[in-house]
C-alpha cells in the first residue's frame, strides 16, 4: 500500500474507517515513519484538546433565558383550556415590573426635560426636546391619547412653544 491520504489517517484516529481500510492502514503504519509521525501529531493535538478548559454556563443562565422567553408570546400551538393560566413556577418577570421599569425611564426623561427647560435657553432647549421626543416615540409608539406617554408628548410640545 502506498501512503494513504492524511484524511484517512485522521478518520482512523476518530475510528471512522471501514474495517477493510482499517486493516490496510494497520498493516502500513508500523513500516512507515512518515504516516506514523502524522498519526502521532494528531494524537498529541487530541491530548492538547483534552487538557483545555470546559466552560459551564454562568450562574443564573437559565433564569435569564426564561426571563427573555417570557417577553415573547407563548409559542404553544394548542390554545390553553379556558380558565387555565400558563404555569409560571417563578420563571417569569411579571408584566407589572416591566411596566414599572418603563415608568421609571419615563420619569428620568421627563425630569431631564424639566431640568433642561430651567437651565438652558431657547435653541438648545428645542434640541433637547426634539431628541427626547424622538426617543419617546420609539419607546411609546402606540401611546393612546391621554396615556402617560401622550401626556408626556403634550408636555414637551408645550415647552417647545415657549
Amino acid at each position: 500500500m502506498s501512503c494513504p491520504k492524511t484524511e484517512l489517517i485522521s478518520a482512523y484516529l476518530d475510528e471512522e474507517v471501514r474495517s477493510g481500510d482499517r486493516a490496510a492502514l494497520e498493516n502500513h503504519l508500523p513500516g512507515c515513519a512518515q504516516c506514523e509521525a502524522a498519526l502521532l501529531d494528531m494524537r498529541s493535538l487530541r491530548s492538547a484538546f483534552a487538557k483545555t478548559d470546559r466552560h459551564q454556563a454562568p450562574y443564573g443562565f437559565t433564569t435569564r433565558v426564561m426571563a427573555r422567553t417570557a417577553e415573547l408570546k407563548s409559542p404553544s400551538p394548542h390554545p390553553l383550556p379556558s380558565g387555565e393560566r400558563i404555569k409560571v413556577r417563578g420563571w417569569f418577570i411579571p408584566f407589572s415590573i416591566r411596566f414599572a421599569e418603563a415608568a421609571v425611564l419615563l420619569m428620568v426623561i421627563f425630569v431631564g426635560i424639566m431640568a433642561g427647560s430651567f437651565m438652558t435657553n431657547g435653541s438648545s432647549m428645542a434640541q433637547t426636546a426634539n431628541l427626547a421626543s424622538s426617543l419617546s416615540l420609539d419607546l411609546f409608539d402606540a401611546a393612546p391619547p391621554g396615556s402617560l406617554g401622550g401626556a408626556y408628548l403634550a408636555m414637551t410640545e408645550a415647552s417647545n412653544e415657549k
Binding site: K5, T6, E7, I9, S10, A11, D14, E16, D41, M42, L45, R46, A48, F49, A50, K51, T52, D53, R54, H55, Q56, A57, P58, Y59, F61, T62, R64, V65, M66, R68, T69, L72, S74, P75, S76, P77, H78, L80, E84, I86, K87, V88, R89, W91
Partner: protein, 190 residues
Amino acid sequence: MQNSDDLDRINRFKNGDTAAFGEIVLAYQDKIYNLCRYMLGNAHDAEDAAQDVFLKAYQALPRFQPDASLYTWLYRIAANTCLDYRKKPVFASLFGDSGEGERLVHDRASDAPSPEQLYHSKQIGRELQISLGKLSPKLRAIIVLKEIEELSYEEIAEILAISMGTVKSRIARAREELQKSMQKFREQNP
C-alpha cells in the same frame, strides 16, 4: 434515538407547560454555552449567543419533529448562531475577555495536577486557543464538535447539514491547520 426525558419535556412544552422548557435549558446550557465559548472566544459573546440559541429553540420547538434528537437539533441552532454571530463592538470591548462568572470544569479533576503540570497544560491550552482563533469559523466549528464535544461524524454531518465525506475532509484540514499554527506559535514563543 430520542432521550425519554427530552421526549417528555417536549410533549409537556407542546401542551403549554413552559416550565418544561426551563428544564431543557438547564439540561443543555453547559454544552451549548461551551460550544459558543469555543466558537466566539470570550465569555460575554458566548452568553449572548447561547441565550439567542435557546430563544430560537423556544420559538421553533412547537414545530420540532422528535425523530431527530433534541441535542443535535440544539447544536445545529448553536453552530448556525455562532457562524452568523456578529461582534457587538461596544459591549464586547467593554467586557473584554475577563471570563467573569464562568465556571471551569476539568475532565479529570480528581488526579490533582502538580504546579508544573498545571503550568504546562495552561501553556498548551493557550497555544490551542490562539490557534483555534485563527481557524476559519467553519473549520473551528467542526473541530470543536469533534474534539471537545466528542461527537461522531454522523452526528456532525447532521448538525452542520453536510455530507460525511465533507466532515471527514474538513476535520483533517482543521487538524493540519491547527498543527501548523501551534508549531508556529511555539517557534515564536520559545
